[in-house]
Assembly symmetry: C2
Homo-oligomer: 143 residues x 2
DNA sequence: TCTTAAATATGATTTTTATCATGTTTTAAC
DNA sequence: GTTAAAACATGATAAAAATCATATTTAAGA
């Protein structure tokens, strides 16, 4: 479903959503430690996200990463798409090219309803929604 | 979600469900061609399934693979578990050890309902159910 | 019994994914 | 301006997954 890389990316973004803001940047190294992900690897992922402007970075001393208000309006789907591309999540469970609603493969009807609910909320719910969930105590860490 | 290997395995089993029976064995090579999977690789997967008695094999000339009536009472979950092990499907979307219903990670509540529906039907519906779906025209090939 | 066609077993290779390492650029603070 | 701390860029290595190759075992049929 999600690659390890995009799991890492999502975790990092959620971490930033909760702990960073414009005046509180966080270094790659610190994020990596907090979310239990190899740091050099995470650094690379953060750079990709930053390049796509899903997260914000500041170079030099006192620099680091944070989420701007704009950043918080992205969805986790955006995060995943940057890392995994947009095919991975959209493909059929059995990776069948020709599977679709009209000619569903045997597993399609089993998974389709549930999957589309998931995909839709991953798409529609913005990053800020998730930090709110955590603040309210409806969702939990640690990552 | 599913590894390539288990997708191949599921496809092969579905193919056998539709096209094979005791008096109609099918060679690995023919299955592979029909479902568009590299043959040597599929052969290996079929051997694992056969070893676990999810499918039936007969060696020698006129040999091949088929599904016995017993085999048809296995679920696709069984197929997947043989190939991928039983952890892969059960783990949290973000692979968080500590994520569970009481302390759900931010994505848990999003995916959990849909996922359990899927898992349950993958578990409960037997192989014969799927071949029936196809016969009835509610599900389609090609694989 | 001999030949041949199939699965089976084992291991080698390739490709992809994940991880690590190192040098370059930017910028704050002195 | 010099230094140092951070992201950024690039490439090397390692691990895992997928694929390929080859020799062995089994059993049907002549």
């Amino acid at each position: 479903m999600l690659s390890n890389s995009s799991k890492y990316a999502v975790k990092a973004v959620l971490y930033l959503a909760i702990h960073s803001h414009k005046n509180k940047k966080i270094m790659a190294k610190d994020i990596a430690e907090s979310i239990n992900v190899p740091q050099a690897y995470l650094a690379k992922l953060l750079q990709e996200l930053s390049r796509e402007e899903i997260i914000t970075s500041v170079k030099g001393p006192k620099g680091g990463f944070y989420l701007s208000d704009d950043n918080r309006n992205f969805s986790l789907m955006d995060v995943v798409n940057v890392i995994d591309g947009d095919k991975r999540l959209n493909s059929c469970v059995l990776s069948l090219e020709k599977c679709n609603a009209e000619k569903p493969c045997p597993l399609h009807n089993l998974i389709s309803p549930s999957k589309s609910v998931f995909m839709e909320s991953l798409q529609k719910k913005k990053i800020k929604y998730f930090s709110k969930q955590i603040e309210e105590g409806s969702a939990f860490l640690p990552l």
